[in-house]
Each structure stands twice: as C-alpha cells, then as structure tokens.
C-alpha cells in the first residue's frame, strides 16, 4: 500500500476499486449515464478514475471535479445494481470531500453549509431564510426565471414559522402509550413542509405513540458531506448523535428519505473512515452512530409495521375513490430498502385506489442541488420521469422525500391537476376525512 493511498481515503474504501469487475451492470442503473451515454458519466467509469487517483497516477483535476459533481446524483442506484458489492457512494462521496479540499467550494454553497450546520444561526438569525430566498426566490433569481432546472414559481414557500415551534417537546397520545419515539424532522419539514411534520405527529399519536421532538436538532449533514465538506458535516453528526443516539426509546422516526439514509448508513461509515485516516474521531462516537443506525425507521416503515395500532378508517362503499400513485425516492428505495411499506399504507386506505406507476423506482433527476447546478442533465432525467408519472393518471402522487416532492411538483403539467404529498399526509388526511376536500380544493385552486 503506497503512502498516497493511505492519505487519500481509508483502506477499507480503497479496496472497492479493486472489486469492480467492470461488468457494466451499473450503466443500466445510472440515470445520468442513460442520458449522456458517455463512460465518464457511468459509475464504472468513475470507479476506474478513483482507482487511478488512489494509485497516484491521476490528479484530482478540475475535470475530475466536474465528473464527480456534475455527472453523479449520488442516488445510490449503482450500489444496488452492483453484483460485486462495490459501494460507489462511499467512494464518490470520499472523493468529493478530497476534491472540495483541493479546489474549494463555491462561496454561496460554503456559507449555506456553515449556516445549516449551526442550528443557533438557523433559528435565531435569518441567514437560512436569506440563503433559501437567494437560491429559491427573490429578485436576483426571479430575474433569471429558473434556477438550473427548477422553475421558481413552482417552489413551495417557506413555513410561516419553523414546524417545531408549534409543538411542545413531547407530544402525548390521548390514550395508552404503546411506544416512545424520537422524531427527527430534518430541515425540509421544519422550514418548508410543516404539514408533513403535522401529519407525522398526528398519525403517530393517533396510533398511541409518544412523540418526542428533541429541541435544537438541525441538519442531518448529508447534503453537506455529499458536497465534500466533511469538516462541517462532523458538527451535524456530533449534534445529531448527542440528541438521538438513545437506547431508551423504541425508534428514531424520520420523514425524509435523505435524512433517513444519512442517519442509517452514512454516519458510521464516515466516522470510521475519518478515524482510519487519523482524524479526531472516538470509538465512542462510532458506537453511538451504530446505536442510532439500529433505531432509525422511516415513518412509512414504522407505521406499516404497526398497522393494527391505527384506528379503523371509515369504509367507502360505493363512493368515488381517489387515485394515488407512488414514486420511490432513491434515498428510500436504494438507500434504505423501503419499497413495500408506503404501498402497504396507501393500499390500506379505503378511500384510495392505488395505482402502480411504470418505473416508480427511477430517479426524479433532482438530486438536491444537482438540479440547480447542472440543470441540463437534470432536465433530461426529470422529463422522462414526469412522463411516467402522468401516464399513471393519478390524482395524487405520494412520495417520501421533500427533494423529490419539490422537483416533481415543479415539473408537473398544471392542466393535469395532480397533487404531490408525503405518504403520511395521504394517510393523515384519510384518517381526518379531509382527503376529498383537499382534492376538490386543489382542483379549483389550480
């Protein structure tokens, strides 16, 4: 093992490059390759480049930076497809980290991540809001009409106040307590999709679950470390572990596919790799990450596992049913293996007619910031996906990721009157008996 190898990434991560058989199965899985049809866009190609970088005969050039950031969504499709067990996501996110160290990060992005990682800045200052407005709206952007591939007018507005400000730290169910959980609500629910948070709390308490919403929680760190800024991400991880790595609760519930996959799979890997590389990470932190990992459940996963705790929903004999399709977010399907559970929930709702759309599991093309920075490539992937969604001819598209939600709703054909909701919102509205009203008002509003 040469010196260079040891310095760049951990040996554990390096070993992946030698297990790529170059069989090419990842080319079929990769949404970016399928559009660009050039080998550098393929996971196999990037593994090849990673090998040469690790072996020290290829520089981390600006071209490499472009390949790592603009030709990869880090959606994890290749990881699932790879028969050799190569964890491309660990390899590529590690290289993004080293690339960002070498070439720096765009100033706006850096500022955002600093802000995101320090909740005191987020909750007491308007920095976050300012940034979001800068990216998502405001005169500067509106004059450009679109941010990458994201039309500004279709982006949901910020919550009037953060979601967690509207709830006490512990929300008790009305009757007996069947379980106690911690709720990790993430940034999207807190600042953009407060209704998702309300639905989560409502459904869980309805099921007899005590919901604890730890004060002071902030970003899961995933968008930060996927952009290569591990130093800032460590702050997020440390804070999250302090608040959520507890063995006195039954589960840690997450409503965001991305946060869930970070808590579940990325923390322990990143901490271990940094420790292997001699960074200041304790074994105790890694153990905490493993404890947290064992507790994390996506909200749809948790609800589906305890369907018998739900109060019976009124049956709908003879009445019209609402057609609902489901889109699998990459970070839920590929990142956490959660596919059946949201469908189980939707199919259990008497007022819902579930329709399985074609290619439910392909990427929406959003990829968080990807759609903003690399709009052209993103648009190719998104347009294909939107076609499948409309073909399903549903009234509601349910999904479990705020990122997919924003991307998809921004590109839907307005004339089709389709609404995008979190799976748990569909359930909550069905329990409350407001799903019909929601659909009717949605149609008239558009």
């Amino acid at each position: 093992m040469t010196k260079q190898q040891k310095e760049l990434l951990s040996e554990r991560t390096n070993e992946h490059v030698y297990h790529c058989a170059k069989c090419g199965l990842c080319l079929d899985a990769c949404p970016v390759y399928k559009e660009l049809l050039v080998e550098s866009a393929s996971p196999r190609g990037k593994v090849q480049l990673a090998k040469h970088i690790i072996e020290g005969d290829l520089e981390i050039s600006k071209k490499m930076e472009d390949i790592l950031f603009s030709q990869c969504l880090l959606c994890g499709s290749c990881v699932i497809a790879c028969p050799s067990g190569v964890k491309q996501n660990e390899l590529f996110s590690g290289l993004r980290w080293r690339t960002a160290q070498r070439h720096g990060m765009p100033l706006a992005k850096k500022l955002f991540f600093q802000v995101l990682s320090r909740r005191w800045l987020m909750s007491t200052s308007s920095w976050f809001g300012k940034w979001v407005r800068k990216i998502f709206s405001g005169p500067a952007i509106e004059s450009r009409i679109e941010v990458g591939n994201l039309p500004v007018s279709a982006i949901p507005p910020l919550n009037d106040k953060p979601f967690n400000a509207a709830y006490p730290e512990i929300v008790m169910p009305e009757d007996e307590i069947r379980a106690r959980i911690l709720y990790f609500h993430g940034c999207a629910t807190n600042y953009v999709f407060a209704d998702v948070g309300k639905a989560v709390v409502s459904v869980l308490t309805n099921m007899g679950v005590q919901v604890e919403i730890p004060r002071g929680q902030s970003c899961c760190g995933l968008p930060i470390f996927l952009s290569g800024d591990r130093k800032t991400a460590i702050r997020c991880i440390t804070e999250a572990l302090g608040l959520f790595a507890r063995d006195d609760v039954d589960a840690v519930i997450v409503d965001c596919a991305t946060c869930g996959s970070a808590l579940r799979h990325e923390y322990a890997h990143i901490l271990r790799e940094l420790k292997d590389l001699g960074e200041d990470v304790s074994e105790d932190m890694i153990e905490k990450a493993q404890l947290l990992q064992s507790k994390v459940r996506d909200v749809s996963e948790y609800v589906a596992a305890h369907m018998d705790w739900l109060a019976a929903m009124p049956s709908r004999d003879g009445a019209r049913k609402i057609r609902v399709a489901y889109h699998d977010p990459c970070h839920l399907m590929k990142g956490q293996g959660v596919t059946m559970q949201p469908r189980t929930i939707l199919k259990s709702i008497p007022s819902v007619e579930y329709v399985e759309m074609e290619k439910a599991g392909t990427c929406c093309g959003g990829g968080g910031e990807f759609q903003i920075e690399f709009g052209d490539t993103s648009a190719l992937i998104t347009n294909r996906k939107i076609g499948y969604i409309h073909d399903a001819n549903a009234q509601i598209l349910a999904t479990g990721c705020p990122g997919c939600n924003i991307t998809i709703r921004a590109h839907l054909d307005k004339n089709k009157n389709m609404q995008v909701l979190h799976t748990i919102q569909v359930l909550q509205k069905s329990i409350d008996g407001t799903l019909d009203n929601f659909i009717d008002s949605g149609i008239t509003a558009d």
């Binding site: 080319l27 079929d28 050039v38 550098s40 290829l58 028969p83």
Partner: protein
C-alpha cells in the same frame, strides 16, 4: 496523443462533446469487462454512419488505429486499444430506424442496447433471440462483433443466426450494405456472416437488420439441485440426448451458488454441489409435458430437489441469480478470469471434472458456470492481479483448460471471442493455412491494418 491538426478535423466531424481526449476520458475508454487496460489516444462518439465514414477516411490516411466499441462489456480485451489510436464509441447511435411487425424484422443502429430493443419488440409481441447475460448494457453492434450467445442459445443459436443484413464502414471509409430484409437471401456470398464475430477487424458495423420471432405463448423453468456435480452434468447430456430442445439449460456449481446467494440473498441452498436451470417454451401442453420428462430425468440422475416456476414472478426469481453471477464472483476476490470453452455436450461431464482437477493442481478457486445445454462452459478463476505468483498460476491453469477443451473436440471460445486474451492459444485451432486466409482477407479489406490491430492474430 493525436496531432492537433487531426484532432481538429475529428472535432469538426463529431462536434464538441463528441470528441474526447482528456486523460480522464481516455482512462474511461481504456477497459472492457476483461482484466486488461490500454490507453487510446482519442475517443469519438459519432451520431451517424456518415460521420464514421469521414473518421475512417482520416484514420486511414494517417494510419491511426481505430477500435470500435459498444458498451465495453466484452470479456476478451477485444475493444481495448492495445496499439493506441481512436476509440469509436457507438453508444449514441441507438435509434430503431424501422420496425416491421408484419415482416418480423427491425433495422437498428449498432449502439442500441440489446435489452432496450427487447423491451420495445416485446410490446409488439416479438423478440430478438440473442440474450447475452450483459444484455441490459451490451449493444447490438457489440453482440454482432463478438457473435454473442446467451442462455437461450441452446434452442435459438447465437447472434449470427438472427442477422439479416448489415451496414458497415470499411477501413477506407467505404460504406457497404450486406444482406437485406428478407429471411431468404442467397444473392451473392454471405458477407453478413463474415462480419458477425469479426471483432472489429474487418469493418465497423453501424446498422443491423434483425430477424425477429413471435413471443412463445408459454414458458416454464425448472430449478434443480444436486449433491454431486457429476450427476448434474450427466443430466445435461441426457436431456439433450433425449431429443428435448430446451430454450436454456444452465449449470452453476457450489462456488457460484454460494457467491450469488451471499450477494443476492435469493434463498439458494448453500450446501448443494450444483444447480441446473432449465427453461422450455412453446405451446403450454407441450411445455408441461417436456417439464415432466425433464423432471423425471433429473430425479433418475440423482437430483435432490426440483422446483418448477408456476408464474412470471417465480420465473424472474429463478433467473435473477444467473444473470448477476459474473459480477458476484468479484465479491470473493478482486479479479475473475472468465473463460468460455465449449465442448460437445456429451463431453461436458469430463470437461467439468477436468476443470476441478486443474483447480487442485494449481491450488486455485475456480467456480464453474455453464450454458450447459450447448457445452459452453464458463470456468471462473477468482484471483487478485496484485498477487503476481498466484496470477501466474491462474494463467497456467487457463492454458491447461484450453488444451483440455480442444482435446475433447471443443473450442477455445463459444461466445466471447478471441480478442487479446485467447490470442496466444489460437494455434491450437488455426493452422498456417487458416491464418493465411484470415491475413489475406484482412489485407483486402484493411490494407493499412488500422482496424483493431493486435487482436486474434
């Protein structure tokens, strides 16, 4: 490096994003699915036959090697630029130009992915029989250049059997059209077959006319487990000998079963010595009859368990493991040397026994998988190229395997082609006279020797 003057010409033909020469891009076209790598000097991603013709004129004038490449899933080093030069990657030429349901043919561009075409054809009730295990990625052009086979080969043969005609660009840029759209066509010498399996040495196929079949109304698969591998290979010889023509008849040994199960967790038993996968298709009553006969033969030959798929989902589940087996082998050790020696099916039991003896002799782990129904055997040696001593033993073992196959009346390659990996052993098959014919042919079609130099001969 390609001289700037020439690079400029190529860029003018293929457009800005169709000409690549950064070190990163060249590294990304330096490999296929075999273990070797070699750097090209430039990569061109053309959009049309005309562009390829123009590129060939320049390359021929400048005597620069040209290597045609599809998705780079070939297993012989066939699409690697061992002498440098220009890689022409056909991935962006992926249109279906014509689809005739009534006449059962389609004209497609060479870069079209096999499975993408299958999905299209299936919606019209038709299919293209060649089904290499890489079909989700591999291109039709690549299938033709390697004359690829696949599990369905037992009943339906290989790629060459399903090509009615080709459009190809010769070394000097001349565009030729071979064959036509009719199933019967003996007008002139069969130039179509000449290009099938020519591994990019004679020209670059840019379009192909594919012969299609109606989808069979019914198919059914069996999964059979054996405590002794010898019994499994004897079963294969008996099924084929009995006159039944299965669509596919695949064998996987204990090593492969274990690797696949570890990777995919699909419920394969890890304590068996071998597994057979058998598929039949056709009229339902006839299929069920054949399945019954096959089941009986399997049991008589010592099968410990026979499972029969009863619906599409179960069918899919049975075949999933087989398709990902090669990739799975790389979980065991970094490199997997996959060969495709082929013997007359009655000699399959001896061939497999011989492979195990060779594994013992060289102290190597060799997994065996086979398109057993046509004697096409895939010994897979797992190793680590970084371990030089073991690597040498692996190479010696391959030499022994080739010799054994030839001694048993077989051949070096059933479906992967020669490329560079089997080149040193070509003299086991070709004599002086055969080499001379090939060289003469090459001289006529490619006088400057620019098409995929360093391969086969």
């Amino acid at each position: 490096m390609v001289e700037e003057k020439i690079a400029k010409e190529l860029r003018a033909i293929a457009g800005g994003d169709g000409y690549l020469d950064s070190r990163e891009d060249l590294l990304n076209y330096s490999y296929d699915s075999s273990v070797d790598e070699a750097m090209p000097d430039a990569v061109v991603l053309p959009n049309s036959t005309e562009q390829i013709s123009k590129i060939m004129k320049i390359a021929d004038r400048e005597k620069i090697p040209v290597i045609a490449r599809g998705a780079g899933t070939n297993l012989s080093g066939g699409s690697i630029a061992v002498k440098g030069g220009i890689v022409i990657a056909l991935t962006r030429m992926n249109a279906i130009k014509e689809f005739s349901k009534e006449n059962r043919y389609a004209i497609v561009e060479a870069g079209l992915v096999n499975l993408d075409f299958q999905n299209y054809a299936m919606k019209q009730g038709l299919f293209f029989p060649p089904d290499p295990s890489s079909w989700a990625v591999a291109t039709i052009g690549g299938n033709i250049a390697e004359n690829a086979g696949g599990p369905r080969g037992v009943k339906y043969g290989v790629t060459r059997d399903w090509i009615l005609g080709l459009k190809a660009v010769l070394a000097d840029g001349t565009v030729i059209q071979t064959g036509g759209v009719t199933f019967k066509n003996v007008t002139g010498v069969d130039l179509t077959s000449l290009f099938c399996g020519s591994e990019g040495l004679l020209g670059i196929v840019t379009e192909a006319t594919l012969k299609l079949l109606p989808l069979p109304p019914f198919k059914q698969s069996l999964q059979v487990f054996y405590p002794k591998i010898d019994d499994a290979s004897k079963t294969v010889a008996r099924i084929i000998g009995s006159g039944i023509v299965p669509v596919a008849l695949e064998l996987m040994d204990r090593v492969v079963i274990n690797v696949v199960e570890d990777a995919k967790k699909i419920g394969l038993p890890k304590d068996v010595a071998a597994m057979l996968l058998v598929m039949v298709d056709g009229i339902e009553s006839e299929c069920r009859n054949q399945v019954r006969l096959i089941e009986q033969i399997c049991k008589e030959e010592g099968a410990s368990r026979v499972a029969i798929a009863e619906n599409e989902t179960q069918e899919e589940a049975l075949w999933l493991g087989r398709r990902s087996a090669l990739g799975c082998m790389s979980q065991l050790r970094p490199n997997c040397l996959l060969e495709d020696v082929t013997v007359p099916v009655s000699n399959l039991p001896v061939m497999i026994k011989g492979i195990y003896e060779i594994a013992t002799k060289y102290n190597l782990t060799i997994g065996v998988m086979a398109h057993a129904g046509d004697g096409n055997t895939h010994p897979m040696i797992v190793t680590d190229k970084r371990d030089k001593e073991e690597w040498e033993r692996a190479e010696k073992a391959i030499g022994d395997i080739f010799k054994l196959a030839v001694d048993l009346g077989g051949t070096l390659s059933g479906e992967h082609g020669v490329g560079i990996s089997k080149k040193p052993f070509m003299n086991l098959i070709y004599g002086e006279a055969e080499f001379r014919v090939l060289k003469d042919l090459k001289k006529v079609l490619d006088p400057n020797g620019i098409l995929n130099p360093g391969k086969i001969m």
